[in-house]
Point group: C2
Chain length 351, copies 2
């Protein structure tokens, strides 16, 4: 299809001020850890994060990218007089060699809903190959969230529309319309008003410890209660990443047993803790509905038939994200949810 | 990629009020030609045009679609009590049989820039197989236009951005940025303010006469003069279709020798004629920048390096649209343009 403005651009073309601001601030906030040290930038793109690291006083930066963008990054580095500090390497982190250990890894690896087409496996590889014990990884932690949402406008526009088109009863279109509009996950922007409950943590990642194996299948149970009377139209996912800080502990004690289903109140207090963390010194880049929009927006799984929920009504279920065997680019999503007397399963594929 | 709201939906899901209004008005304007007659709807989708024809008094409507949407169309027809009048046929126009001649063909066949993934070949096939001599085709005529445009905002956002990113000289990115942003045609909305001259007619189509062969390669020379001092950033294409009327004559006398290059003034008067036609009784569905937006928007070929033009400066060139041999879904676009002392060629593919 032709190039539509605003979609399908290469990642380095996504001019996302919120994202770049967060990385710049994070790098300058860690000047003490970067000054006179060796940094590797995994998936450097245009080289902008490497340049921020050079400005923050790095002795040496290895900027690695597997795509031809590395050629331009090399030119950018040269044009800014940083060739002595930044070495651009065209190749895969898994295959290239750098002949020293590094103090810092910086990378903008996050995909849609954090894990879709993410470069986290390359960061893990770089960490295991080159990072000194106790070295810094920016971002240091990532968390994927989910919450039930209501979105009457979107639903009306896509589905209810067909009930009456120019006075013609087109409700025979509804099943196909639902399938076409909502079969795949939607990358869209919603606002805090759409969100029905405190978010559930689907996965918390400590970048210093996470393994490639534990990313293959991510699963969690959830139990939340609706904050209002509304139509439940689907579930939204978003993420945040934090730069530095040693605050992964609270997750490990509170939330890492996704197979049991604790009461809603437990999950809520965990979500509240998360929100309070943002008031601390730790820098957070959040793609939540209540924050500044980013190119990641939110990823939404719409359900075919809305469920009417009352205030405090409990919504339970489980979600599993799994890399597909046939195409590692795809992500299988298995969602089970129930509320009141309704119990449903939705399978979808992010491709 | 995941389903983004607003793109990549099946055609029947494009809820384009301007388009559906035009077809509804055109069908009811031709009630005299439709009442008690036999109609074929080529690529019927949801069946809405067939239903309009039934409302306009058609004795029989054959609604043909090669996709499974025909199953839903059948249900819609039934739900509206029109099964006696409308027969839905799942299959290709080229392969199915209807056992009588028809009085009217109705079809919404137009693709992006009119000819990209258009269903016009199926309309031609239906015409040659089934239409009675002198029968009505809705729309009856189609015209593809082109004009030079200026779009500083879009250019600045995609290209000039790289000159200075957070104080970093990223102009080494410019060649790649231009290639990524502007290599393929862009489907975007512009306004009349972006357009630098009266439009050139690339191709006029009389649906009662056009052949499949003459659509394989469409080519025209152009010579226009800029109405203002501006940066020429590219060329926009759009189209209109007319419903009924016998006004193709003026094209056949004035514009069907695209190989010679008449002076700019000739082309301009032709464009003015076209505009005046809209004041007549003929119904026009236009996708021009100055009209209500449609899902077709405009298709824009951006050029890599803007040309500064003064008022009345002449811009000449030629454009050729050709179906590719390897994949008939693709459209090769060969654009040559010159103004002042600048002369350029741009090859692109709409895929």
């Amino acid at each position: 299809m032709a190039a539509y403005s605003g979609t399908s651009r290469p990642p380095w073309q996504k001019k996302d001020r919120t994202r770049t601001d967060a990385y710049r601030d994070a790098i300058f906030m860690h000047t003490d850890a970067i000054r006179d040290k060796v940094v590797v930038d995994v998936g450097c793109g245009t080289g902008i994060l490497s340049i921020f690291c050079a400005f923050a006083g790095a002795r040496k930066v290895y900027a690695i990218d597997a795509s031809d963008i590395a050629v331009q990054a090399q030119e950018v580095v040269k044009a800014n007089g940083l060739s002595e500090i930044i070495t651009v390497i065209l190749g895969r982190v898994e295959e290239v060699d750098i002949h020293e250990q590094v103090d810092v890894i910086v990378s903008e690896w996050m995909g849609y809903m954090l894990l879709y087409e993410s470069m986290l496996p390359s960061v893990i590889c770089a960490r295991d190959r080159w990072l000194k014990p106790g070295g810094l990884i920016l971002p240091s932690h990532a968390t994927l969230y989910m919450a039930p949402i209501t979105n009457a406008e979107r639903y009306a526009d896509s589905i209810d529309f067909w009930r009456n088109v120019y006075g013609i009863d087109m409700s025979a279109m509804l099943p196909l319309a639902k399938q076409c509009a909502f079969e795949e996950p939607c990358v869209e922007s919603i606002t805090a008003e759409n969100v029905l409950s405190w978010p559930v943590v689907i996965k918390h990642i400590d970048c210093s410890k996470v393994t490639i194996q534990e990313l293959e299948v991510v699963t969690t149970n959830f139990c939340v209660s609706s904050m209002m009377m509304a139509s439940l139209h689907g579930f939204a996912m978003w993420f945040d990443v934090t730069f530095g800080g040693q605050n992964s502990q609270e997750f490990e004690s509170a939330g890492e047993s996704p197979q049991d289903s604790p009461p809603a109140s437990d999950y809520e207090s965990m979500a509240l803790n998360l929100r309070r963390r943002r008031g601390n010194e730790t820098l957070v880049l959040s793609t939540a509905p209540e924050e500044n929009p980013t190119h990641w927006q939110q990823t939404i799984l719409y359900i075919y038939d809305p469920i009417e929920v009352t205030q405090d009504q409990v919504i339970t279920g489980s979600i599993t994200l799994a890399q597909t065997r046939e195409n590692p680019r795809f992500l299988n999503i298995h969602l089970e949810y129930s509320s009141g007397d309704r119990r449903c399963v939705k399978e979808s594929v992010m491709r």
